[in-house]
């Protein structure tokens, strides 16, 4: 005999996020989600503990391996936190080059997200289109840093590699391609009936909850809260851009900030092209001079970091939201004394859970994807019914999502 509703529904745990490989536990009644709980930690690697056993230069290497998608953001914010703790001042050109790589990373990450969101809606043409145009920004990153992922670009006091005139010309050419496709991308995401049907009024985060639960990143901007670390806390080159650029919210793009998945699409696509303009601005206004304040690594490590005593907090706006590191250094101690990382998804956990309330099972993939939680694929869903376990894989859930798209299109 079947149990009476509600039923539990577990999703996870195979999930490739950093500290947020979340196992979701839903309580469902028919097609509707009544309660949501989550169990992260399946991807826990003890990065902070490892950092407390290594010296800052070694941790720099570890910091970018916190997350492969926002590796530049983690290296950037870790460098800043150590600089704040040890009173190292980065050079002006270093600041600009840092911001350029951070913005390029935002372009690649938002394109990645747009493709994955399309995939979750059963719209694979979008996945292939956005990942095709994403390869162009990967080319710029490879020109600048020498690698497609894990750039190893940042160093305390500046950056490791300068940009040559020829490379600037190459970058400008590729960026101008993005300006050309802007209208196409906007029309795909803002007026395609499938996307509108599947994302409007789905997974709503209210303005009130966004403020109360301290959401961050495009999630909170989609709800109409103008939080953006680049402008709120004007560090590095962003202080110089305050007058020329504003926070992107649905209002600035001509839409209402309703906090649903569609608002987040609007914010992310808007930010994507804003980042293209920002990169061009940074290339135009880049000052000359040294790229790092201390080119000699061993001198930096021995004299400055070893003798430093102090603590520092640094925050940057990673593609997914606010990324904050806290670092404390002790005199005559090579290792970092204390290190805490907070990645954007962690800050959005509480808001995320409220978004599932009374939504349908077929909308689970897009709501999970909507906050960009380092998804790649969650593989397996276990439906527990009648006390026995029946395994439903991610594909079935994905098929349900496709089926819903088709139904709406009829």
């Amino acid at each position: 005999m079947a149990e009476a509703p509600p039923y539990p529904l577990n999703i996870g745990p195979i999930h490739p996020a950093l500290k947020e490989p979340t196992q979701f536990k839903f309580v469902i009644d028919g097609e509707h989600i009544r309660e949501t709980d989550f169990q992260p930690g399946f991807n826990h690697r003890g990065v902070e503990y490892l950092g407390m056993k290594r010296n800052p230069l070694q941790v720099l290497h570890l910091a970018e391996r916190v997350c492969g998608i926002c590796s530049a953001a983690h290296q950037y914010v870790f460098c800043r936190a150590v600089e704040h703790a040890a009173d190292i001042v980065p050079t002006e050109r270093g600041d600009y080059l840092r911001a350029i790589v951070a913005e390029l990373e935002r372009i690649h990450s938002h394109l990645l997200w747009a493709g994955v969101a399309g995939h979750e809606l059963g719209f694979d043409s979008i996945l292939h289109y956005t990942w095709k145009v994403r390869e162009d920004v990967q080319d710029i990153l490879e020109i600048l840093c020498g690698n497609r992922v894990n750039y190893a670009y940042y160093i305390f006091g500046g950056v490791r590699r300068d940009i040559s005139k020829e490379d600037i010309a190459k970058c400008r050419k590729i960026l101008s391609n993005y300006r050309k496709i802007e209208d196409t991308v906007l029309s795909i995401f803002f007026s395609d009936p499938t996307i509108i049907h599947r994302t409007k009024d789905v997974g709503v985060l209210t303005h009130e909850n966004a403020v109360k639960l301290c959401a961050c990143g495009p999630l909170t901007r989609g709800a109409g809260v103008k939080k953006d670390i680049r402008f709120d806390w004007p560090h590095g080159a962003y202080g110089d851009m305050m007058d020329d650029f504003k926070v992107v919210t649905p209002e600035t793009m001509g839409y209402h900030a309703t906090g649903d998945v569609f608002s987040q699409i609007v914010v992310r696509i808007g930010e994507l092209f804003e980042s293209v303009r920002m990169t061009e601005w940074l290339l135009d206004n880049m000052p000359s001079g040294p790229i790092t304040s201390e080119p000699n690594l061993s001198a930096l490590l021995m004299a400055k970091l070893r003798m430093a005593e102090g603590e520092g907090v640094a925050r940057v706006e990673a593609p997914r939201g606010e990324d904050i590191h806290y670092v404390r250094l002790k005199k005559n101690k090579m290792e970092i004394d204390s290190w805490k990382i907070r990645v954007p998804t962690y800050g959005n956990i509480m808001s995320w859970l409220t978004m599932f309330k009374d939504q349908q099972i077929a909308d689970i993939p897009i709501i999970i994807a909507s906050i960009d939680p380092c998804i790649g694929c969650m593989d397996r869903v276990t439906l527990v019914r009648d006390g026995s376990q029946a395994e439903v894989d991610w594909k079935v859930l994905h098929d349900m999502s496709i089926e819903k798209s088709r139904r709406l299109m009829r």
Partner: protein
């Protein structure tokens, strides 16, 4: 185990994330999308290990995932190959002295199955070209099985 003729033209791959940092994972997706497009060789990602010929593993295996990864390996029907993408699976990478790492994936899987076919693709992260090359190596390793009874 004898392989059928249809086997060597299309390898189906199941991707297991065993606490990876996502760097390799996005490169795997990049390998599937238009610029690299491994699907033209008949290689595709599938949604369940029961359909797979190759297990593509990223990341060091941590305590939470160890049991689950072993179960995924056992669920994959033979003949099968394991493709370890990235340094973490081969050596545990930068996480080697963490408290919740069960060790490099190859050692771990050899305990489960001493005869496992393991292909290593080094890199942190691996490049899409390297992943494609690695799948071809897995292909060759599986083709060798054809001679065996």
């Amino acid at each position: 185990m004898k392989l059928t003729k249809s086997f060597d033209k299309s390898l189906w791959v199941f991707h297991v994330n065993a606490a990876s940092c996502n760097g390799c994972d996005i490169e795997i997706v990049a390998a599937l999308t238009p610029r690299y497009d491994v699907e033209r060789f008949g290689i595709k990602l599938v949604g369940t290990p029961r359909h797979a010929d190759v297990l593509l593993v990223t990341g060091p295996v941590n305590r939470q995932m160890a049991d689950r990864v072993r179960r995924v390996y056992e669920q994959t029907p033979g003949p099968k190959a394991v493709l370890i993408c990235g340094n973490c699976g081969a050596t545990s990478g930068v996480y080697y002295d963490s408290y919740c790492i069960e060790g490099p994936f190859d050692e771990f899987i050899k305990k489960v199955d001493p005869n496992a076919i393991i292909v290593y693709v080094p890199g942190c992260p691996v490049r899409p070209e390297a992943i494609t090359f690695g799948v071809v190596q897995a292909w060759k390793a599986l083709e060798k099985l054809r001679g065996e009874a």
